[in-house]
Each structure stands twice: as structure tokens, then as C-alpha cells.
């Protein structure tokens, strides 16, 4: 069962990621990315990370991707155009990525003593996770909340309509 679920959702993941690259319209890429993120949530669940699976769906597939699709629609982004730069980077990009993938795959396949994952392994409950998060790692948690606050202020400051400049136009 674990094998079947892994193969199906890993296939969804890869198909979504490849479709993200093939689509020329940003909204199609955004929808493919949602497929990738939701399939990753299922893979997290297979690895016993129940809280992260839910957080992945809510935070990534929900909040972040809504922000992306919202910006795509707000800016009315059209199809991307083929330019000189895209041909150059296509020529550079493919060999570079093959090298990166080759190095990573070699390291992973040569690693000794990696185990197997099955459905009987059990899950890490949210209780275990929160016990560590709110005792040992309380300070990093609070620092991250300050980071989020700064990010909100920064986003508002960056995206705010500059009233005086637009009045002149």
C-alpha cells in the first residue's frame, strides 16, 4: 500500500513540476505548483509527519499559492516571450542541472545504511512535536513570529501605492 501511494503521488509531484516548466502562462504554472505541494503533503503523511502534512496543505497549497495566483491575476501577467536570454539560459541551464542531479543522485545512491519506510512505522503525533517546539525551541519559535511581523510590515510598505507620485501621472 505504501509503495502504491508513493508511486502515485511521486508521479503527481514530478508531473506537476515538469508541467510547471512546460507551461508558458504563469497561472498554469501556479496551478501545477499546487498539485506538487498537495502531493508532497501526502508523501509527508506517508513518512509519518501528520502535522506537517496539514501545515503543507494550509500554508503552502493554501495561503502561499493563493497569494501567487492573486498576484498573477492582479498584474494580468501574460504568456512569457521567447528572447535571446531564454535561449542562452536554456543552453547553460540543462547541462548545469544534469550535473547537479548527477552529483546528488550519486551521493544518495552511494549512501550506506539507509532504511525503508512502511505504513507500520507509526506517525509523529502533533503532541510530540509541540512538546519539543514549546519547550526546547521556544526562543526560535518566538523569533520567527517577530520575523513574520517584520515581513508583514515590509510587504505593506513595499506594495503600498505611493499616493503623491501616482497623482502626478
Amino acid at each position: 500500500m505504501h509503495l502504491i501511494l508513493f508511486v502515485v503521488f511521486a508521479g503527481f509531484c514530478l508531473a506537476g513540476a515538469i508541467n510547471l516548466l512546460l507551461q508558458s502562462h504563469p497561472i498554469n504554472s501556479a496551478l501545477s505548483l499546487i498539485v506538487v505541494m498537495t502531493s508532497l503533503a501526502v508523501l509527508y503523511l506517508l513518512l509519518g509527519a501528520e502535522f506537517l502534512a496539514i501545515a503543507q496543505v494550509i500554508v503552502y497549497a493554501g495561503a502561499i499559492m493563493v497569494l501567487f495566483t492573486f498576484v498573477v491575476m492582479l498584474l494580468n501577467a501574460g504568456r512569457e516571450e521567447r528572447t535571446m536570454g531564454s535561449r542562452t539560459w536554456r543552453a547553460v541551464g540543462f547541462p548545469a542541472v544534469v550535473v547537479i542531479l548527477g552529483v546528488l543522485a550519486t551521493v544518495i545512491l552511494r549512501a550506506q545504511g539507509l532504511g525503508v519506510a512502511g505504513l507500520q512505522d507509526g506517525i509523529t503525533s502533533t503532541e510530540d512535536l509541540s512538546r519539543v517546539l514549546f519547550t526546547e525551541l521556544l526562543l526560535p519559535f518566538e523569533v520567527t513570529s517577530v520575523l513574520i511581523l517584520i515581513a508583514i510590515l515590509g510587504a505593506v510598505a513595499m506594495a503600498r501605492h505611493d499616493g503623491e507620485r501616482t497623482h502626478g501621472q
Partner: protein, 107 residues
């Protein structure tokens, strides 16, 4: 049929999947010409790394690996908010999203 139901998956498969997703993210970052799609490729790379974190947390029964993924998600959310705000500001100044035409820091 029973063997199919209890079949296990080697941990290295998850790591290979993570490596492939990361490589596709790098490829998208390099070949896509739209600012928003480039940003989406970065999110894809972050997700690929998260998958390998979760895999290793499972392998070594370490809760802290999962908590690190939680932190990465929070930072990614902050990054997406600020990054998209920057994209809106850039679009307002240049009226384009093509990365080839956004090659100067100063207008």
C-alpha cells in the same frame, strides 16, 4: 496481494525524488523568463529540500527535523509575502515582468 499491501519503500527513493524536484526547480529558475514563474521555481526548490528533511527525520526518528521544516515553512511564507510585494513594486515601476528587461537595480 498481501505482499503488495505491506510493501515498503526504500528511503533513498524519497531522497531521489527530492533531488529531482530540486533540479527541476533549478532548471525553472534558469530557463523561465517570467518573474513570477522564477519565484515559483524557488518555492519548488524549498519544497524539495523540505521533503528530504522530513525523510531524514523519519529515518532517524528525530522530531527536530520536522520542526525545522515547520520553520522553513514559516520563513517561506514571509519570503513569499515580501517577494510578491517586491514583484508588485517592480511591475509598477517597469510595467513588465520579463526578467530580461529588469536588469538594472536603478530606474
Amino acid at each position: 496481494m498481501n505482499s503488495l499491501l505491506t510493501q515498503e519503500v526504500p528511503v533513498s527513493w524519497y531522497l531521489i525524488l527530492s533531488a529531482v524536484l530540486f533540479s527541476l526547480g533549478v532548471l525553472g529558475f534558469l530557463i523561465k523568463r517570467n518573474l513570477i514563474t522564477v519565484f515559483m521555481s524557488i518555492e519548488l526548490m524549498l519544497n524539495a529540500v523540505n521533503l528530504s528533511f522530513v525523510t531524514f527525520a523519519h529515518e532517524w526518528h528525530a522530531v527536530k527535523g520536522q520542526i525545522f521544516v515547520f520553520f522553513v515553512m514559516m520563513v517561506a511564507a514571509a519570503e513569499a509575502a515580501v517577494g510578491l510585494a517586491i514583484i508588485i513594486a517592480v511591475f509598477r515601476a517597469r510595467a513588465t515582468l520579463a526578467v530580461d528587461r529588469i536588469d538594472l537595480m536603478k530606474l
